[in-house]
Symmetry: C2
Subunit: 508 residues, 2 copies
């Protein structure tokens, strides 16, 4: 029967007014949605790939093994094959996986930014080490500077879908490696209270920089209590070798409780097979080898299992970040990592585009949708990255943030309950007013279930032309400039800042 009482009084104009006033404050699709409805691989395929990965580790093994680690690994059951490569039996590797951290909290300096990594919850964040920045004024790339890094950090501080901020560019204006690592960390400290990530050029840089974090937090050992910065490191060099430098950084990070994002970033057809299945088998083996390295030192140490299968373009041999192959490869990598129960890290939205254009939009969205729906826990590189990771862009950060809301909305999916199926609401409408506009059932749902973009232009063509036929690039540039002009956070106390400046060569 008709429930006319549930409809608001008034005509079309008042309905529109009511709706417009009702655009929700609540985000219907915050980060942390539960993915996994997209399964690029069949269960049998996941098994074949993981079996092959374990066989690779058991028979082909790892080369260039740091001496200290080899001694440790062999003492724990690993063995050298007839080519003196370090091998792990299936049983040993399964034990390592069993003992590895399955879920852990990624801390912000402000607890409101904390989130748990693991399961099939999906978070997007940044990554990258762009040596060039798309200049906001000229629209052309130029070398990235410390100032850019500071600007990117405070911009990302305002963007809801950048769940953590990994330094996205390299301050190429700092020649000294130690100063570079220190000032990178300092820029992160100043610009955001979100969880952050960085890299260390040498193992010996880790201690002093964690000391700096301790100063920022107000005392020795504070960082280890709530480690808010993860290290991005590649302990494995494809194909199937350990790296001595990364090994040093890894052990130094374990000592100072820096969570480890263990990245394997092999390139198909160059450092891994061009066949997609072979690529995944090798990179899964390699990421397991990185996991083994950390876990043999300390079982259960927080490690993100970052299997990022990358792609090259046959025509040039150069890395390309956009396209169908890299999208399904990273989605499949997430599926495999989640199957193993490990915190999954992948990469998305690495546009090859240089311009903030339609190519960029499509390249970024395709891989973000694929990896997000596949349930990757930590999706790196998803914000701001351009030019096949060579460049970073302020405008891209703005547009990615809005695109990622749509992706989170997709991951959230469709709730099916008696209430949402709405049989009675349909009956009431059909036999009553004849349309759903303006009913409280509708208004409630549209506030609760729909994301309303703020940058996207939804005007009709005539209105769009009248306001100057704007493009997304210009809208994003305006928004980025406005945020950079107004958002000047300083998350370091003046006391901590003074102490840091006394001890370190701070260049900003």
């Amino acid at each position: 029967m008709a429930q006319t009482g549930s409809y608001r009084a008034g005509g079309r104009a008042s309905r529109i007014a009511a709706r417009t006033a009702s655009v929700p404050e609540i985000n219907p699709c915050p980060p942390g949605q539960i993915g996994g409805r997209y399964r690029p691989l069949t269960s049998a395929a996941v098994k074949d790939i993981t079996d092959t990965a374990l066989r690779i580790l058991g028979e082909i093994g790892m080369g260039e093994v740091p001496k200290a680690f080899q001694t440790l690994a062999v003492s724990k059951g690993a063995f050298l094959n007839d080519q003196a490569r370090l091998c792990f039996s299936r049983q040993m590797m399964e034990d390592i996986i069993d003992g590895a951290a399955k879920r852990f909290v990624y801390f912000g300096r402000d607890p409101k930014h904390d989130f748990e990594i693991g399961g099939e919850r999906v978070y997007f964040g940044s990554g990258g080490a762009a040596v060039q920045t798309l200049d906001l004024d000229t629209g052309i790339y130029r070398p990235s500077t410390l100032r850019d890094l500071a600007d990117f950090t405070r911009l990302a501080d305002t963007l809801e879908n950048v769940s953590w901020f990994t330094r996205c560019c390299v301050a190429t204006d700092i020649p000294d490696n130690f100063d570079l690592d220190v000032n990178t960390a300092y820029a992160l400290l100043r610009g955001t209270m979100k969880p952050v990530g960085t890299s260390f050029m040498h193992g010996k840089h880790v201690g002093p920089i964690v000391d700096m974090f301790d100063i920022a937090l107000g005392g020795e050992g504070k960082f280890a209590e709530r480690p808010f910065c993860q290290v991005h490191i590649s302990p494995v060099i494809s194909p199937l070798r350990y790296g001595e430098d990364a090994f040093d950084v890894t052990t130094a990070c374990i000592k100072r409780r820096v969570p480890i994002n263990a990245v394997v970033a092999a390139q198909s057809g160059a450092t891994a097979p061009a066949t997609l299945a072979g690529m995944l088998a090798q990179t899964t083996a390699e990421t397991l080898a990185a996991l083994a390295l950390v876990n043999l030192y300390e079982p259960g140490y927080p490690v993100i299992f970052s299997n990022w299968p990358l792609v090259i373009d046959l025509r040039t041999g150069a890395f390309c970040g956009g396209g169908g192959e890299i999208s399904i490869l990273n989605a499949a990598a997430a599926q495999i990592s989640n199957h193993l129960g490990l915190p999954s890290g992948v990469a998305s939205s690495m546009a090859d585009a240089k311009a903030v254009d339609a190519q960029m939009g499509a390249e970024k969205a395709m891989s973000a949708v694929a990896t997000g729906l596949a349930g990757a826990n930590m999706i790196y590189e998803s914000s701001g990255m351009m030019a096949s990771l060579l460049g970073a862009s302020f405008e891209a950060f703005i547009l990615d943030n809005e695109m990622l809301s749509h992706v989170h909305r997709m991951i959230r999916g469709i709730e099916v309950t008696e209430e949402t199926l709405g049989f009675e609401a349909i009956r009431a409408t059909v036999t009553g007013e004849g349309h759903f506009l303006g009913s409280s059932h509708t208004i409630d749902a549209m506030q609760r279930d729909y994301f309303y973009p703020s940058i996207a232009d939804r005007n009709e063509p005539r209105t769009w032309a009248e306001i100057g036929a704007p493009q997304a690039w210009s809208a994003a540039r305006k928004k980025a400039a406005s945020i950079l002009a107004s958002h000047h956070p300083d998350y370091l106390s003046s006391k901590a800042d003074r102490v840091i400046r006394e001890r370190y060569n701070i260049l900003m």
Copy 2:
């Protein structure tokens, strides 16, 4: 052991030369890939939604039923409820679904364009009735003309991922309805041999236009043998009413063997519930009501079950084609239709963007990926549509075509076999040359498994700047203009053309 014999001789330069010469002629991801790895709904959710849809048809039923159809339906077991609405019992509707066409061929006038609709094979094509066209020269929208339609048709004729061409715009320069339908059909005949689609303003237009198709094919009754044109029609008006005009067109189409694309295009929160589950329940019921209409006249008649759940923006009440909600709704609609075993039609890539910009790229890609991975058979509106379906764009056709290759590549997925897992290739490389570049195993895979875009810019930033910092819009404009300047197909014999021009008021 090392298989160095399988590697081509020479250094890096010769390897690059070999690769560049080796860019494949074969499309690694043609239309018709098998989707379904993305399941937006759980099985339980699919059952709840279809159960609710059947309950809606059994209890709430359909209003405004054309007299002739009501008589027929009641004679076949339908009944009127206490509000005189036409209801179908669950058993009756299940019988109709059982008897409905599950797979049928969509014919081109050239058999090379034929393809089978059904299962989980995915094809993208056009749709729409844009009243405005994005002018190639001015970059602003203006009213669409017959000339535009002819141009879009011959452009689409060259685009591999437009598997069929539904007239994407309305020739607003033709005031007479009959002349409009005739000239629309004529433009399709002239410009492409692919399967096509159109609409008919009145049932009485169907006969003369199919006569014209017969003339084009060389004789009376030829169209019925290989019907190459489907009608886009909405026999149901949301919520839950039949439409008298569409009913007339539908019966006229059945008489002349025009395959029917039965489109339900309800808008969430306006003509259907705003809750996503309720929306799908109602639109599934409505599409089943449309299926019943055709199948009660002729069981097994070719019908595409086109459940296109559309979305409005709460702030304006206007339709919006981009975003997360519309992407998952259409993916879910495909999943439900495929579950019912019916040829599924949905819509994707309906950008709200007016400009050929980053917003367009992201909006189009998100929904194309979602619906494609979900396994929709016929994905309408996927090419060229802009401005929330108000506009069509030549440049968008070009860029969509390339984006859809990436999507087809994603749908194709990852083949896992002993060969593709490549254990021996990995062993040979690791213990041999140390990289995979240049091996025949690699070259073969990169030719077979990777899509190489032709419009996308994959240059490094400096090269990009040196060539003038181009954007995708300009690249696409150039390509569209070049095709339109050179591709002038005329797929009508001069004899047929003469006969048609004698009988019909052809305006081009």
